[in-house]
Every structure is written in C-alpha cells, then in structure tokens.
Symmetry: C2
Subunit: 208 residues, 2 copies
DNA sequence: GTCTATAGGCAGATAGAC
DNA sequence: GTCTATCTGCCTATAGAC
C-alpha cells in the first residue's frame, strides 16, 4: 500500500497512531461520510445518505455520532491524523527535499484520483456554515501542512537543493494555496491533468 | 466607483452590456442570493433566506426564478458578465502588462474584502451537486479568465515586461488556481493578508 | 407581481423497545 | 447497538386569490 492510499480512506489499515479505537461500524460510517463530504460537501449529505450505505438506521448513526457536527469533528480529526502520518512516512522514507515535495504533491494526486476534493479544502469553502470546533480543526490542518512544508523548504534551501525567494513559511503558504486551488478547479473540469500541470509547474519553479 | 466595486455586486450600475433587463425586485433577489452563495454556499442558503431579506414571500421569489437551479444559472451569468466587463476595463484603462495582472488580483481582493469567496470558486467546490447548466457555466467562467490572463501573459512576455516558463495558458491556469486557492484558505483563516502575501509572491515571480 | 396556504418530502434528532 | 416510530422544523415548489 502506497503512502497516498493512506490519505483518502480506501483500504486503510488500522494503526494506533492514526486511528482511535472505534468499532467497525463507526469506522464504516466515517469512511462513507468522508467520501460524501469530499465529493458533495458537508452541507450536501445527510445522515440518511450514510445510513443507507452502511445498512443501518439513522437512529443507529446517532448512537455513534450524536450530532452531525460531532461526526464532522471526527472526520477532520481522522483525516488530519492520516495526513500527518503520511507526512511522517515521507520524512522517514524520502531522502532529498525536492522528492519530499513531489511526494507531498502525490498525496493530493491520490485524493483527486478518487474524484474527491481535499476534505479540509471542501470544508474551507463551507467554513462559514460550520461549528466553531470544525472551523478551528480545519485551520489547524492547514497550519500543520504549512509547518511541515516550511521545514522541508528551509532544509532544502539550506542544502542548495531548493530555491525560492522569501521566507519558507510564506512559500509554504503559497504552495498549499496553489495545490488546494488546483484541486478545486481541476475537479470542476473533471480533468486531473490540470492539477498535474499546475503541480509540475510549481515543483519546477522550486528547482535551484 | 472602482473596477473592483463592479465585481462583488455592491452598488453596481445597470449597463446594457453587463446586465439583462430585469425588474428591481429580480436584481435585489440576485444581489442577496449572490452574497449568500459567496458566503455560505449554494447548498447552504434557501429561498426563505432570500425572501426574508428582500421582504417578499418565497412564492414571489419563485415567480422571478421558478427553480433554485435557474436562480443559480442567473447568478453565474450575471457574475461572469460583470467579471468580464471588469477585465474589459482593465484592458482599456491599464497600460503595461504587470499592472494589468495587479489589477486582476485586485478584483479578487475586492471580493475577499467583502468576506466572500469567488462565486465560481464556491460553486466549484459544490460542483458535484449542481445542475448540468450550472456546472458548465462555472467551467466557462474559469476558461474565460484563463484566456484573458493567457493573452496578457503572452503580450507581456513578448514585450519583455513579464517573465515565465512554459506556455501562457499553462501559466494562466496556475495563476487562477493559486488565486482561487489563496481565497479559499485565507477566508477560513479570516485573514486577507494571507491572500495578499500569496498574490504578491505570485506577481513578484512574474517580474523579468 | 404579490400574497396566503399548503403540498410533499427530507433534514437532524429523540424516545423507548429489544 | 440496533431497531421502529415519531417529532419538529425546514426545504423547494405549486395553487389560486387579489
């Protein structure tokens, strides 16, 4: 199983680091709800949609996740944990910094291949309609991504394997924005090549 | 009234080129609905929300726009027309190409200042849930933006006032993606400076 | 063009049996 | 943990009077 398989929730092995101790049913619920949010948005799926796919009643769904907001919070937490775990694997498994960035981009490609938007990118669009807890969880996801990227960028520049103007954090924010935007647009065109072109352009511009 | 005031629907003068012949009520409806979509999303506002603000009944609203999808199509058409008119004003009023790009970025800043997302950026997130007519209208909006940018980029590079690698259209797509993504993220941080930083970085990278 | 009234369905959520 | 049944409210949309 590749790194990117860990991110969009397909056939993900349970590990202590990335998943809380949940029942199989709860995890099935999260899997289905995650996909529905990434494809349709948090405001465009219902408990009934999830219940139907998991073959339980909406009442049972409320047993596992009492409110839709709590389900949403659990979704973000699981997604963020999985994403951070993937970043950890990149740290350990990939040597040079340009390749780390390429591996980071591949995480996005993996999401897009499943015809999904980044969970937190989708929730960012719906930000104004979310609970305070969900809002701050989305923001934290972006901050963690930026911090990881900034670290890679700084080290790469120090070693001469990456080149960019300005601060690493500023560059990191530009990269996150560009990738999220490229996903957003590419998905409405139904054309993953649009994402690949933008991402390739981005990686090229960082070459020394 | 500045160029950017024309884009987000505040105090916009009626002109034959940019607006269809609609009653005041229909335009009020569009103004309110547009703001609600840009702030909350198409799936997170109702006819009741609009009716309340316009001080009419939902039944009257259905007289002007029989279905929500038709309202959505009218929203995109008006927004796209206004945006294209603003691009036309940039073409006529701004001389050098770097400044044209800066003026283009200012259109986005104007939207963000009103605490809104780009209408079509928001609809891109919700793409999977939209009618076919709305979907293709969103795509056309992006294509027109890219075509305009590609033209500016090509001319600027030919004159030596802009510098970039690859084709103008590829660069244009990267710019649209970066700006839409920067809006998306900046808005969830509630921090317009995040957008300004990314946009400034982008404009700087195009300097010869 | 606007209204009241209402249809018909779906939303999130709860009670209580098993 | 799961179910059926139900509540309350909101949703888009329509009928028909004015």
């Amino acid at each position: 199983m590749g790194i990117s398989d860990r991110v969009y929730g397909v056939a993900v092995a349970k590990t202590a680091e990335t998943q809380q101790d949940r029942t199989d049913t709860a995890n099935q619920i999260l899997d289905v709800a995650e996909r529905l949010v990434q494809v349709r948005g948090f405001n465009a799926f219902s408990y009934a949609d999830v219940a139907k796919e998991v073959h339980i009643s909406t009442a049972s769904l409320h047993y596992h996740f009492p409110s839709k907001s709590e389900l949403g919070e659990a979704l973000i937490a699981r997604y963020a944990n999985r994403f951070m775990a993937a970043l950890g694997e990149i740290d350990e498994g990939v040597a040079d910094h340009p390749r780390k960035l390429a591996a980071y981009v591949e995480l996005y490609v993996g999401v897009l291949r499943n015809e999904r938007m980044c969970l937190c990118g989708m929730l960012a669009a719906e930000h104004e309609t979310l609970s305070a807890a969900m809002q701050s969880a989305v923001v934290k996801f972006f901050e963690k991504n930026e911090a990881w990227l900034a670290e890679v960028l700084q080290q790469g520049r120090d070693q001469g394997s990456l080149r960019f103007a300005g601060s690493p954090l500023e560059e990191a924010r530009s990269i996150v924005s560009a990738l999220e935007g490229a996903m957003l647009v590419a998905r409405s065109f139904g054309d993953i090549n649009r994402f690949q072109a933008v991402a390739g352009h981005l990686l090229t511009s960082l070459r020394p």
